[in-house]
Amino acid sequence: MSNRNRKTYLKRVNLTISITLLAVFISIIFIIPFYLMGNMATYSTNNLYTKFTFLPSNYLLENLKTVMRGMFARSLLNSLIVSICATFLSVFVSALFGFSIAKYRFKLNKFFFNFIIITMMIPTSLGIVAFVIEMRILGMIDTFAPLILVFGANSYGAFWMTQYIRANVPTELIESARIDGCNEFMIFIRIVVPLIKPAIFTLSILIFLWSWNSYLLPIVILNSQSKFTIPITIATLGSLYFTDHAARVTGLFLGIIPLFIIFIIGSKFFVKGITEGAIKG
């Protein structure tokens, strides 16, 4: 008996070691470009091309100063406002939508579902002129409103929620809640939401990310420098004829850090969601 146990134990250890090594190797491949990027931030543009090696240089403080000069803190705040609002809005709207498509039978059910899939296929960037005209009529030019509200109607999010709820929320649970006299909205909040926590966190991270990196729309909608978001600010560091590449890379690096933090926090909740979900009642 103990022999057989030992064999399986060794086998498992081997497997663990080899998979871990593989993971470490792949991690290194992932991290190298970012290490290089961080390294670039420590060089001055003078030396960036000619003297770049794997070891950092000493120009980090200067680059930071250049970046900060360009209203970086302000755009950070702006990006945070836009992204946080967009995330809350989008997750809420998508979850509601997904819930109704997945669990209710009503006349337009199939039509709505096909509808969101079709909307994913149409690149709307070309309609930007009409969009700007519409925003002007609604008086929303140079405000954050269009940037936030446009994520409310995110088809990818709605699709993701729909299929996740379909797969992971048992209809019996809902039926029994109904018999117990719950009204529909309470069903949504008390039953469905706890069950789809991983999906909520995933979608929040994604929407935050997409709204943070959104580039073209803010450029066209916003007119005041004080309202610009991070991607625009970074793209304007330096000029056409003299692009301060090092400062720009530093700015990019700084711009990723909030995302990274949000991601780590979100992942922690994610893990919590895993353990909670595993002990399902």
């Binding site: 543009t45 003078n46 960036l48 091309y49 000619t50 770049f52 000069r69 360009g70 930007i128 002129v129 009409a130 700007v132 005209i133 519409e134 002007r136 009529i137 030019i141 073209l216 450029i219 066209v220 007119n223 005041s224 420098q225 625009i232 793209a235 304007t236 330096g238 000029s239 056409l240 004829y241 003299f242 692009t243």
Partner: protein, 457 residues
């Protein structure tokens, strides 16, 4: 149930109506924006010429009061000079809005098409100058109340800043005359001299250039040129044929020579294949393997930042075939802007006044386009000892090269033509199997797709 179907139908109908209304009133929005100004200035009736100093107009500088918006891609450079401007015009505030260069024209065109607010000053770079001017939404700066006198600036500039009706619609903030900068140690070694005038007589035309280049390459592997973009710069710059006349694209006259020259240089081995602005290109300044560089006035900043460890390595000469221009930015005022006169005062101070020109030169390294400034000895002496040693660059650029520089006009097709040309060049420079005819075919195919309305000759 019925109520909800009704609601849905109602929403759909409203949206349809809105969208048609939106599309339908697009035509009106542009005209509705060219309303009579609510500008706060006094009606300008003086016909006096505004000279380089601002005090000869009726209003005193303090009385000009407004906040003008300027769309640009580099906020730092003008912002450095604004405090000085405000010493003369304390009540004109300037709101500098920096948009990334690649999106600037698009934002502007969207603003026009959608009827949103336009800036008071708009930067037009050569990359899209022709197209922007063809939009025909710019103020004529020679008319009242601006009364710009075009003889103030260099003659070669006129095709760059005038529109189809020969009205001046913008003023360049720096001159972009080009010469060839060369590594003087290499010149001494291979040509026996480092003096610019002697170099110019030793290399009177491009064929001689290529020949000497082949010899040099064989001897030591040194390239004459680092990038194909330099070749494009001087072939296009020196070619006086317009791209498009009367609906015909003059391929053979205006564009084919560039292809030919690049292929010649590629096949002779004297041209390296770096992409302009890539790390490889910057490294070629200092790797002692490249001898000549296209050198417009604004190139100084790049050399200054990249070539820091040596001194006095370069000299500037006139290129074989004469002077040409490459790049440049002008500031223009849209007709639909609100504070046009104040905007012009800023432009005037910044680029045409003595004070502004000096500050530009000292703080930003931009060399103005005003002729008379270069007759003032202290302004006209432009030396950068760590790069060019004792050579007086302004003499070379503005006294020697500028008068002989002729440029062709800008057109709305420039952007497309050059973009496609660069795309083809970037392929043929690395692929030696593409010969001249194949390259022409590739390019003509691209043009027929992007410019379907033109016949290609």
């Amino acid at each position: 149930m019925k109520k909800l179907t009704f609601l849905v139908i109602f929403i759909v109908i409203t949206t349809v109506i809105i969208s048609f209304a939106v599309v339908g009133c697009k035509g009106e929005t542009v005209s509705s924006e060219t309303i009579t100004e609510e500008s706060t200035t006094v009606e300008e009736t003086t016909a006096e010429q505004s000279e380089t100093t601002p005090t000869t107009v009726e209003k005193t500088p303090e009385e000009y009061s407004a906040t003008i918006t300027m769309w640009c891609w580099d906020a730092a450079t003008p912002s450095a000079l604004i405090p000085y401007f405000n010493q003369t015009y304390p009540n004109i505030k300037i709101d500098v809005v920096a948009i990334p260069y690649a999106e600037l024209l698009q934002k502007f065109k969207t603003a026009i098409a959608s009827g949103t607010e336009l800036p008071d000053i708009m930067w037009l770079e050569m990359g899209f100058r022709g197209e922007a001017i063809a939009l025909d939404v710019w103020e004529n700066l020679e008319a009242a109340p601006y009364n710009f006198d075009r003889t103030t600036v260099f003659d070669y500039l006129y095709p760059f800043i005038t529109n189809a009706r020969d009205e001046v619609v913008g003023i360049d903030w720096s001159s972009t005359i080009c010469g060839l900068a060369y590594n003087r140690h290499m010149a001494q070694e291979y040509f026996g001299t480092e003096d610019p005038s002697e170099m110019e007589s030793l290399i009177p035309d491009w064929d001689t250039f290529i020949q000497k280049g082949i010899e040099i390459k064989e001897k030591s592997g040194t390239f004459m040129l680092s990038t194909d973009e330099d070749v494009l710069a001087f072939t296009i710059g020196q070619n006086q044929n317009e791209y498009v006349t009367n609906g015909t694209l003059n391929f053979n006259a205006a564009i084919a020579p560039t292809l030919q020259m690049v292929i010649k240089m590629r096949d002779s081995g004297i041209m390296d294949v770096n992409d302009m602005w890539s790390p490889g290109y910057f490294a070629s300044y200092t790797d002692d393997k490249h001898m000549f560089f296209n050198f417009p006035t604004w190139m100084l900043q790049h050399f200054i930042t990249q070539d820091t460890e040596r001194t006095d390595t370069w000299r500037l000469m006139k290129a074989p075939g004469g002077g040409y221009a490459y790049g440049g930015t002008c500031w223009s005022i849209p007709q639909a802007a609100d504070n046009k006169l104040e905007a012009y005062k800023f432009i005037e101070w910044y680029m045409l006044s003595s004070e502004g020109s000096r500050l530009n030169k000292d703080i930003s390294g931009n060399l103005c386009t005003v002729k008379t400034m270069y007759q003032e000895p202290d302004f006209a002496e432009i030396k950068y000892p760590q790069l060019f040693g004792d050579q007086n660059l302004s003499e070379k650029w503005f006294t020697d090269i500028a008068p002989t520089t002729k440029v062709k006009g800008v057109s709305e097709y420039d952007n497309v033509i050059l973009t496609e040309l660069r795309a083809v060049l970037s392929q043929i420079k690395v692929d030696k199997s593409i010969d001249f005819n194949k390259a022409c075919d590739m390019l003509k195919e691209a043009y027929s797709a992007k410019l379907p309305d033109l016949t290609i000759n």
